[in-house]
């Protein structure tokens, strides 16, 4: 399979003229088997790019291709998406939500999900809305990582959870990803995710300002990605 998993060609997105370009002429080609950080300050275009990839937004110009095709039913089968906000029906019990996912996604592995819930000490019989914010986020990540997808889009997966749970979540990501899948993690908590990343994409004001391998950055700049980020995006 030499085809790119994900390609963006001259991709632009504008939310009305007053708002300017949220994304400006983005060109990217991503291969399989990578964990990639999508890093940028607030409002840089991270979420816009992710929503364009999974077809929740339509491009103003240019195109997005997943396995060579525009977003559609096929790409939705291939992509597992963790949004930055909850969209689950909050009156459901956790296990009901799992069953909901079983119905929706052929690649959803319920046994794996139950296993992860057990490790996180989350009772599957509880009603979703009675859970704390951090626990709700953990449940959502469990749902997303229990699919056997080709592309995982994680929008701020560790934003709302405590440091111990962060480690668990990162471990969950490492143990559950297969080498023919790619994971994109959008975050500004760089120091926390840096050690699990292969590559990073730096995005600022809708432009890709850097796309490089993490070890290359450390070798050539003598600094961590976190330090580079602070330098590139200094206010």
């Amino acid at each position: 399979m030499s085809m790119m998993l994900l390609e963006c060609r001259n991709l632009s997105k504008t939310y009305g003229q007053a708002a300017g370009n949220a994304l400006n002429n983005v060109n990217l080609g991503l291969t399989r088997g990578k964990i990639i950080g999508l890093l940028g300050p607030n409002g840089s275009g991270k979420t816009t790019l992710i929503k364009l990839i999974n077809g929740l937004l339509a491009p103003t110009a240019g195109e997005v291709l997943i396995n060579g095709k525009a977003p559609g039913p096929e790409s939705k089968m291939a992509i597992s998406y963790l949004p930055d906000k909850t969209y689950l029906a909050d009156w459901m019990r956790v296990e009901q939500i799992l069953d909901f996912f079983v119905d929706f996604y052929a690649d959803f592995d319920k046994a794996r999900a139950m296993d992860m819930l057990h490790s996180l000490q989350i009772n599957p019989n509880l009603v979703f809305k009675t859970l704390s914010k951090g626990t709700q986020e953990k449940v959502q990540l469990v749902l997303v990582m229990s699919r056997r997808a080709q592309l995982y889009l994680l929008d701020e997966p560790i934003g709302g959870v405590d440091p111990a749970a962060r480690d668990f979540i990162l471990r969950t990501i490492i143990t559950n990803y297969s080498s023919d899948a790619t994971i994109i993690i959008a975050t500004h908590l760089i120091a926390d995710v840096e050690s699990i990343l292969d590559e990073v994409i730096f995005i600022n004001r809708g432009h890709i300002v850097a796309y490089d391998n993490v070890d290359n950055i450390r070798a050539s700049r003598g600094q961590s990605v976190d330090e580079m980020f602070r330098e590139v995006f200094a206010c």
Binding site: I174, S195, I196, D215, R218, G222, E227
Partner: protein, 126 residues
């Protein structure tokens, strides 16, 4: 999860770590190494980074790849011994540099280290 220093590539830090464990006998000669995934989980890093580190160790001769059976520590004890000597040299250099900075003479430095080498060393530094 291991804390990595910021200035060196992570894979090189993993090479150093595994090499140190081989030297210390934590992974004896010809023993089987943990899998890529086990290392990745233990160290909290990407499996591809571990892979790169292990390939680097293979190139250095410390590790042998036995196909699907996994990776093994070399049986070449001479190579391990050489690496051990190199590590001793490096640590001694660090120590000596530090002692000089503290204004220590050779005798004082040897006395200080002897206390710990000979096992009577309660941490007396304040």
């Amino acid at each position: 999860m291991l804390k990595f220093s910021t200035e060196k590539p992570i894979y090189i830090q993993i090479v150093d770590l595994v090499q140190a464990r081989i030297i210390m006998g934590h992974y004896p000669p010809e023993s089987k190494l943990p899998s890529v995934r086990d290392f990745a989980v233990e160290l909290g890093v990407n499996p591809n980074t571990v892979q790169r580190a292990l390939v680097t160790l293979e190139q250095g001769g410390f590790v042998k790849c036995a196909g699907t059976a996994g990776r093994f520590v070399t049986g070449d004890r001479e190579l391990i011994e050489k690496a051990r000597e190199k590590m001793v040299c490096e640590k001694a250099l660090d120590f000596a540099t530090c002692m000089k900075q503290c204004g220590c003479g050779t005798e004082e430095a040897i006395k200080a280290v002897r206390r710990y080498m000979e096992g009577t060393g309660e941490p007396q530094c304040q």
